[in-house]
């Protein structure tokens, strides 16, 4: 893409200086956060409350945020902030949910909390109009641009069928904890967007995915770094015209939320909530086949909370 090349040119010279020394820090790529083994459920589904209230209940039933975040750790909270639309259009993750997650992380002792997304619309407008920039700043987190290739570093990973490398935002490379907070939506390309699709916002070259079998790429990339926790925002759900949406008429107030450490299970449950079979969404089916996670919800220990 032209844009990519232009950005590359502008950034390369500056980036080249000292890049090697910086890259040296990323040798601990696969040093995943050591999650304590006492998490009581594979998946938690909540219904009937406000986004923040539902998260309070769900995370408590998993043993609290301290199960995931330890004192002094650096956390990346990755919502969907892809579009320059206001919160009532539900094109982005609900800011109230993002705010509450950050609060829980700080309470668990997090040292730094970073929030970013590689947006589709103009990034600074997305950040401000989504309401997410405001809540991140007010809760003491840091919202960071992902709009320049200079933020991204080459990574490789094993097991992918068509994809084995990508350029990933450096905050993901350096974070101790990665919390994935997608919003559940209809999607014109991938049919449905939730946890796995949301990871497209941590890579630079999305065009490659579109060119090389989108569904397979979505599944493959989930192998790179599985989020420590996935929180699917299904409070206000875009049922058609996704992912950007045309108007509020596209939405249904579902007041639901799904939490899981299994990215495939989270998406499978989200698909069910949405009203489609997980197996009908190609990337969920592929990810299940590749054993990235499971879409067979009957095998899982699920906590169902109705508020």
């Amino acid at each position: 893409m032209e844009r990519r090349e232009f950005l590359k040119k502008s950034a390369t010279v500056a980036f080249a200086i000292g890049a090697s020394s910086a890259l040296g820090n990323y040798s601990n790529l696969f040093a995943y956060n050591l999650i304590s083994q006492k998490i009581p459920y594979d998946l938690v589904a909540v219904k009937g409350g406000e986004p923040d209230v539902m998260f309070d209940r769900a995370i408590a039933s998993l043993g609290g945020m301290q199960q995931f975040v330890k004192k002094g750790q650096t956390v990346v909270v990755k919502p969907n902030i892809g579009w320059d639309v206001s919160p009532e259009r539900a094109g982005n993750t609900n800011p109230k949910l993002v705010e509450r997650i950050i609060q829980h992380c700080f309470n668990a002792g997090a040292k730094n909390i970073f929030v970013f997304d590689h947006t589709c619309d103009n990034w600074s407008r997305c950040y401000s109009d989504s309401g997410i920039e405001r809540v991140v700043k007010s809760t003491g987190g840091k919202i960071v641009s992902a709009d320049s290739e200079s933020y991204y570093h080459d990574v490789t990973f094993k097991g992918g069928r068509v994809m084995s490398e990508a350029k990933v935002h450096e905050l993901i490379l350096s974070a101790d904890v990665f919390i994935n907070v997608p919003v559940l939506k209809n999607h014109s390309s991938s049919k449905l967007t939730a946890s796995m699709k949301n990871l497209m916002g941590i890579v630079w070259d999305r065009g490659y995915w579109h060119q090389n079998n989108l569904h397979q790429c979505i599944a493959d990339f989930s192998l790179y770094r599985k989020p420590d926790l996935n929180v699917v925002d299904a409070y206000l759900v875009m049922k058609r015209n996704g992912p950007r949406g045309v108007s509020r008429e596209d939405l249904v107030l579902m007041k639901s939320q799904i939490l899981s450490t299994d990215i495939v299970a989270a998406d499978a449950a989200a698909a069910k909530l949405f009203g489609v079979e997980p197996a009908d969404i190609p990337y969920i089916k592929i990810a299940d086949e590749m054993k990235i996670g499971t879409m067979n919800l009957s095998k899982l220990k699920i906590n169902r909370i109705i508020i």
């Binding site: 032209e2 844009r3 232009f6 950005l7 040119k9 502008s10 950034a11 010279v13 500056a14 980036f15 000292g18 020394s21 910086a22 589904a45 219904k47 009937g48 320059d84 589709c120 619309d121 103009n122 600074s124 407008r125 109009d129 840091k142 960071v144 641009s145 709009d147 320049s148 200079s150 933020y151 350096s174 014109s188 390309s189 991938s190 999305r206 065009g207 579109h210 060119q211 090389n212 079998n213 989108l214 569904h215 397979q216 015209n241 992912p243 950007r244 045309v246 108007s247 008429e249 596209d250 939405l251 249904v252 107030l253 579902m254 007041k255 909530l273 009203g275 919800l297 169902r304 109705i306």
Partner: protein, 521 residues
């Protein structure tokens, strides 16, 4: 007020305008609100006059104020409002600080040369072309110098600083893209800048008195100013000091005369005169007709010019009916028309009103507005176009319509901008991934804010894009996001005249959710 203070006032005003415009043009992070832009562009002579000619309104009356001021005090515009004038002063200041040559001296009048440039500009306007306005307008040239020459350098420094900070996990400065569509675009601004810089280093404000059509026009008017700077022959002791500080080179000490037509009202002379030998003198037009034989010629020319301008201004909206030249044929996608920015009404309206100052280019948060080369044809060179190779127009943004000082882009409400159809998306199935690879893509439909590009069933459970013209607004999101190289499978062809798109009427989804009911799993 004593005359010596005039220079200080002039310096303060000129620095205010200069720095404000400099920041507005350099504002790559879009920190400054477009609301304040108008305060500093309102008085810019050419954009204001062009805007006024398009639609008579108070918001476009800045140039009338300038004419009135000129009629009262001479060419105050040249030393206060005009950013290119201040830029030249800056160079002149530098040359006097650094070089040995510390003084200016009287320069030749170059009357024929400057009248020729003014004549050419007016002639081209009558013929319906903005080309000479665009090439010679001092404000627009300043805008281009900053946007095309200085801004990339500033962004480079920004990106360099950002890259160092990012490595240390400090996310205070954000890297920004630098875009150069073509090197040809640099040729004119670079040549122009070198020329002006050279002249100002050597000869002060010679550019303003030879090439600049605004300077010449205001100069003609200043011959009839109520107050004129002149030498008080009884007081003058012939010390030469005033001539030495005169940037315009218009003081002739030997004959004790000031060529006020060329005076840029910098008031340097007032500050150095030891004997009150140079003053603003009240003069009634026509009183000393006999003393200055050229007056007749100037008057005639002035009248001719005034009428020419009036005719030209009223004519430009109708004059140009030329077809826009096609893009170079090497691009396989056959775009018939370039896309002009929202609020520009039509390509013709835009071409007729745009002075190519690039303020919209500088202000556009998406950076989709880029200077054109030959897309609008030779006569529209440098006028901005929507470049969907680089970005796309943000659906909820109207910044360019708020900053345009010449009325080429008229202010529009966000609501009508969202329905303003700049062009229409064209889909080339044979280029599309869904067709060639047999895999899902849909990036175009994903980015489409109106869902004019929707996905419809294709073979093997795939979906393929389909464009509904009436919903398309030509924002270019589809073209930009299409991952196919080198020729995209969807592109926007400009509308020569902007149309109004239809709003997609949607019925509310009827779905009852039982908040107390069981989960579907």
């Amino acid at each position: 007020m004593k005359l010596v203070y005039l220079k200080k006032v002039r310096v303060i005003i000129s620095l205010t305008f200069f720095l404000a415009l400099l920041l507005l043009f350099l504002d790559f992070g879009n920190i400054l609100s477009p609301r304040y832009t108008n305060y500093f562009t309102f008085l810019q002579f050419i954009p204001s006059a062009i805007k006024f000619a398009g639609a008579v309104s108070l918001s476009a009356a800045g140039f009338i104020l300038i004419l009135a001021l000129t009629f009262l005090f001479g060419r105050v515009y040249c030393s206060t409002i005009c950013p290119l004038g201040t830029l030249q002063d800056f160079f002149a200041f530098l040359s006097r600080k650094i070089k040995k040559k510390k003084y200016f001296s009287k320069t030749k009048s170059y009357k024929i040369l400057r009248y020729s440039f003014l004549g050419l500009t007016i002639l081209s306007l009558i013929l319906g072309s903005m080309i000479f306005i665009n090439l010679l307008d001092p404000y627009s040239n300043f805008g281009r110098i900053i946007t095309l020459l200085l801004k990339p350098f500033v962004i480079f420094v920004n990106n360099f600083a950002a890259s160092i900070l990012i490595q240390n996990r400090i996310f205070f400065i954000n890297p920004v893209g630098i875009f150069y569509p073509t090197i040809y675009l640099l040729l004119f601004p670079l040549t122009f800048f070198s020329f002006v810089a050279y002249l100002s280093l050597k000869k002060g404000r010679l550019f303003c008195n030879t090439v600049c059509p605004v300077g010449t026009l205001l100069g003609i008017l200043s011959k009839y100013s109520l107050l004129k700077i002149d030498i008080e022959k009884e007081n003058c002791i012939g010390c030469k000091l005033c001539e030495r500080v005169c940037k315009a080179g218009c003081i002739d000490r030997e004959n004790k005369e000031v060529d006020f037509e060329r005076c840029v009202s910098c008031y340097n002379c007032f500050t150095v005169c030891p004997s009150e030998g140079i003053k603003y003198k009240l003069r009634f037009p026509g009183k000393d007709k006999k003393e200055i034989p050229e007056t007749d010629f100037g008057k005639r020319k002035f009248i001719v010019n005034t009428f020419s301008y009036l005719i030209a201004f009223s004519g430009i909206t109708f004059a140009q009916k030329k077809i826009i030249s096609k893009l170079p044929s090497k691009i396989k996608i056959n775009k018939k028309y370039p896309v002009s920015p929202p609020g520009s009404l039509s390509i013709e309206h835009f071409k007729d009103k745009c002075t190519a100052c690039h303020l919209c280019v500088s202000s556009c948060p998406s950076q989709v507005l880029q200077p054109s080369f030959l897309e609008y044809g030779f006569w529209g060179m440098l006028q901005p176009r929507m470049d969907y190779e680089i970005s796309f127009c943000n659906y909820d943004c109207i910044v360019c319509t708020q900053v345009c000082p010449s009325g080429a882009i008229i202010p529009v409400e966000l609501k009508s901008k969202k329905l303003s159809q700049l062009g229409k998306a064209k889909f080339i199935k044979e280029n599309c991934i869904v067709y060639t690879e047999g895999t899902d893509c849909g990036a175009c439909s994903e980015h489409c804010p109106t869902k004019a590009v929707s996905m419809v069933p294709f073979k093997n459970n795939l979906v393929i894009p389909q464009v509904t013209d009436e919903y398309c607004i030509g924002c270019g999101a589809c073209e930009f996001s299409c991952p196919v190289k080198p020729f995209k499978s969807i592109y926007v062809d400009g509308n020569p005249v902007h149309l109004t798109a239809k709003k997609k009427e949607l019925k509310k989804i009827e779905e009852k959710v039982n908040y107390k009911g069981d989960f579907p799993f």
